[in-house]
C-alpha cells in the first residue's frame, strides 16, 4: 500500500515526579499506513494517553523519532507543533470539549480561525457539519444538543481542516452503547469516504473489534501488533 503516515521509532517518555522518574513509554516503534483504522488498547497506566499525546503532537518524546506525514516532529518548537496539530491532526475527546459559549458552527470554525483562514470559514464549517449529519442544528449551542450530537460536532471540528490523522480518545466513553455505535460507524464511514487515517484509543473490545488493527500496550511497551 501507500507509504506510512505515522512512523515512530523507539519513542520514550520519562516524567519526573519530584526525585522519582516515571517511564511512561519505554521505546515504542510503530508504523501506521495512510487510511488505516487502528485501535490502541491497554489497561490504565499502560501509556495509552502518553502515546496519544505523542502521536497527536501535544507533547514531545524524551527520546526517539517521530515522523507525521513525513515531517519530523520531535525537534519542533511549541508554535511549530501548534501549527502541525492545526493542519495534520484532528482530535475527538471523550468529554467532547466544545466551547459552551459558541454555536456548533462557531466550534467547528475554530481550527480554521487558528489556521489563519480569512474567508470561506463559514462554508467549510457548514460542509463539515453536513458531513456528520447535523445540517439542522448548526446554530445550536452545545447545551442544546444531545451527547451524540455534541460528539458529532467534535468530529466535524476534527475533520474541518482535512487532517492527515484523526485521534479519537475514548470517543464513546461518555455515550450509551447505541449512540456510541453510531459514532463509531460515523468515524468509520468518514474513513471510508475521505481516507483519513483513524486512531481510536479505547477500552471497549467491541469498538476495537471494528478496526483493522489493534495495538495493545502494556507497561509502556507494545504487547502485540507491529
Amino acid at each position: 500500500m501507500s507509504k506510512p503516515v505515522i512512523v515512530a521509532e523507539n519513542l520514550t517518555k520519562v516524567y519526573k515526579m519530584g526525585k522519582m522518574e516515571v517511564h511512561a513509554l519505554c521505546g515504542i516503534s510503530l508504523k501506521i499506513k495512510r487510511g488505516e483504522v487502528v485501535a490502541i488498547m491497554g489497561p490504565s497506566g499502560s501509556g495509552k494517553s502518553t502515546l496519544m499525546n505523542m502521536l497527536g503532537c501535544l507533547d514531545r518524546p524524551t527520546q526517539g523519532e517521530y515522523f507525521l506525514d513525513g515531517e519530523p516532529v520531535s525537534t519542533l518548537n511549541d508554535d511549530q507543533l501548534a501549527d502541525i496539530r492545526n493542519r495534520k491532526v484532528g482530535f475527538v475527546f471523550q468529554s467532547f470539549n466544545l466551547l459552551s459559549r459558541t454555536t456548533a458552527l462557531g466550534n467547528v470554525e475554530l481550527p480554521l480561525r487558528y489556521a489563519g483562514l480569512a474567508s470561506g470559514r463559514r462554508e467549510r464549517a457548514r460542509e463539515a457539519l453536513e458531513a456528520v449529519g447535523l445540517s439542522e442544528r448548526m446554530t445550536h449551542r452545545p447545551q442544546e444538543l444531545s451527547g451524540g450530537e455534541q460528539q458529532r460536532v467534535a468530529i466535524a471540528r476534527a475533520l474541518v481542516n482535512d487532517p492527515a490523522i484523526i485521534m479519537a480518545d475514548e470517543p464513546t466513553g461518555n455515550l450509551d452503547s447505541r449512540v456510541g455505535k453510531e459514532i463509531v460507524n460515523l468515524l468509520l464511514s468518514l474513513n471510508q469516504k475521505k481516507g483519513t487515517t483513524l486512531i481510536i484509543i479505547t477500552h471497549d473490545p467491541n469498538v476495537a473489534g471494528q478496526t483493522q488493527r489493534i495495538i495493545r500496550l502494556k507497561d509502556g511497551l507494545v504487547e502485540n501488533g507491529k
Binding site: N53, G56, L58, D59, D78, D79, A82, D83, R85, N86, R87, F91, F93, N97, L99, S100, R101, T102, L110, P111, R113, Y114, A115, G116, A118, R157, N161
Partner: protein
C-alpha cells in the same frame, strides 16, 4: 485571527459571565470617575480663583512694606508721602490713581451686638481704584477726610451681624472701639473671597482711622498702597516707575528693595501654582483607586485563566499558538478596562457637574470643567491599566502545556 474576531470572541466570553465582568468594570469605573471628577473640580477651582483675582482689576498694583528677600533688615515703613510721590504724574506717568490704606482690626458694637472686624482707613481715591461698589449710601469724600468725620461704610457681613439686614442702615449710629460712628453706606457683597471674607470689614476715612482708630507711632504710616495703572499693558513700566521712586525715597541699596510691588500677574501665578498642586494631589489620590481597579482586573483574569484551563488546552490542541492565547486574554482585560474607562468618564463628568450644581446652590460660583486632556488621560491610562494587569494572567494562560491543560478538571 484578526482583531475584530478577537474582540467579538472576548465580548462573548465577558458576556457569559456578566456579574463578574460588571463588578470588575466597576473597579475601573470608580477609579476613572474619581480621576475625571477630581481633575475637573481642580480645574474649576483654578478658574474660579483666577477669575476672582482678575475681577479685582488687571491693572491694579499692591505696594507693601518689606521684601521677600531675607537680607533686607529694618524695612522702612511706607508713608502717605510715599503714596503722594507715586501719584506724581511726572515721576510716574503710567500711574493713574493711588489709594493708601491703613489696615487694622477692632470691635464694632450696636445696641448690645458685638462683632470683631477688619477696619480699613481709606482715601476717596480708594473707590476709583478697586471695584468697591455700594448697595446704598455714598462713598467717603474729601470733606470726610478733612473733617476726620466719624462716618463708616459697612461690609455686608458686618451689617448682617449687627443689624440683621443690609438695607436702610444709612443714618444709624454704631460704635467702633467705643467711639460713635454714623453709617453712610453699605458695601456690595463680594462673596466668600479667596483671601478670607472681603465682606467682614468696615471702611472709615483715612484721616479718622489715623487719628482715632489705628495708631501707627506718629508718622504718616500706611500699610498698603493700591495703585491703578493707566492700562494693563503698562503694568511692567508702572512697576518700574514705582520701584524707582520708592528706592530713591527710602535710599535703599541696589537689589535690596525694602518694599514689594505685587501685580495681578503675580497673584494669578501664585494661585495657579497652588491650585495646580491641589489638582495633582487630588488626581494622584484618585489614580490610586484606578490602580486598585487594575489589580481587580488582574485578579479576575487569573481566576478566569484557572477556570478555563481546559478551554485553553483545547484551543492549543486545535492549533492555537502562544500568541493567539495571549491576544485572547489581553483583549478581554483591555475591553474590561476600556468599558470601565468610558463609563467612568461619564460618571466622573456627572459627579463634576453635580459638584458644580451644589456649589452654585450654596452661592459660590464654581464651574468644574472636564477637559479633553483629562478624558484622553483617563482613557489611555485605563486601557494601559487593562493591558498591564492583563499581561501576567494572559502570559500564564499562553504558557500552559496543552497536555496538562486538557487533563485539568
Amino acid at each position: 485571527m484578526n482583531l475584530m474576531q478577537s474582540v467579538i470572541e472576548a465580548l462573548e466570553s465577558l458576556n457569559s459571565n456578566k456579574m463578574r465582568s460588571g463588578l470588575t468594570i466597576l473597579g475601573i469605573v470608580i477609579g476613572v470617575a474619581a480621576v475625571i471628577a477630581m481633575l475637573a473640580v481642580g480645574k474649576g477651582a483654578q478658574d474660579t480663583i483666577t477669575g476672582s483675582i482678575s475681577g479685582i482689576g488687571t491693572n491694579l498694583l499692591f505696594v507693601f512694606r518689606g521684601s521677600m528677600n531675607d537680607s533686607v533688615r529694618n524695612p522702612r515703613p511706607l508713608t502717605l508721602a510715599d503714596a503722594q510721590a507715586i501719584a506724581d504724574p511726572f515721576a510716574a506717568p503710567d500711574v493713574q490713581a493711588v489709594a493708601p490704606i491703613l489696615e487694622g482690626s477692632g470691635e464694632v458694637t450696636f445696641s448690645g451686638e458685638k462683632s470683631t472686624t477688619t477696619i480699613d482707613g481709606v482715601t476717596p481715591e480708594y473707590f476709583t481704584v478697586g471695584n468697591n461698589a455700594l448697595t446704598e449710601g455714598e462713598v467717603i469724600t474729601e470733606e470726610h477726610m478733612l473733617g476726620r468725620s466719624s462716618v463708616v461704610l459697612l461690609g455686608p457681613e458686618v451689617a448682617d451681624n449687627l443689624f440683621g439686614r443690609r438695607d436702610g442702615l444709612v443714618g444709624e449710629t454704631l460704635r467702633i472701639e467705643g467711639q460713635p460712628f454714623r453709617v453712610i453706606g453699605v458695601l456690595e457683597s463680594k462673596g466668600g473671597g479667596s483671601f478670607g471674607s472681603q465682606d467682614n470689614r468696615v471702611i472709615v476715612p483715612f484721616s479718622t482711622a489715623q487719628a482715632r482708630l489705628i495708631r501707627r507711632g506718629g508718622q504718616d504710616r500706611v500699610d498698603l498702597i493700591l495703585v491703578q495703572v493707566v492700562t494693563s499693558e503698562a503694568v511692567p513700566q508702572a512697576v518700574e516707575e514705582i520701584s524707582q521712586i520708592l528706592r530713591s525715597r527710602h535710599r535703599t541699596a541696589i537689589g535690596a528693595d525694602d518694599f514689594t510691588v505685587f501685580s495681578q500677574e503675580d497673584f494669578l501665578q501664585t494661585a495657579a501654582t497652588i491650585t495646580g498642586v491641589l489638582t495633582i494631589f487630588l488626581g494622584g489620590i484618585a489614580a490610586i483607586s484606578l490602580l486598585v481597579g487594575g489589580i481587580g482586573i488582574m485578579n479576575i483574569m487569573l481566576v478566569s485563566v484557572t477556570e478555563r484551563t481546559r478551554e485553553i488546552g483545547l484551543r492549543k490542541a486545535l492549533g492555537a499558538r502562544r500568541r493567539d492565547i495571549l491576544i485572547q486574554f489581553l483583549t478581554e482585560s483591555s475591553l474590561l478596562s476600556l468599558f470601565g474607562g468610558l463609563i467612568g468618564i461619564l460618571l466622573g463628568w456627572l459627579i463634576a457637574t453635580l459638584v458644580g450644581r451644589i456649589a452654585a446652590a450654596s452661592g459660590t460660583p464654581f464651574n468644574p470643567s472636564v477637559s479633553i486632556d483629562a478624558i484622553l488621560l483617563a482613557t489611555i491610562f485605563s486601557a494601559a491599566v487593562g493591558l498591564f494587569f492583563g499581561i501576567y494572567p494572559a502570559n500564564r494562560a499562553a504558557g500552559l502545556e496543552p497536555v496538562e491543560a486538557l487533563r485539568y478538571e
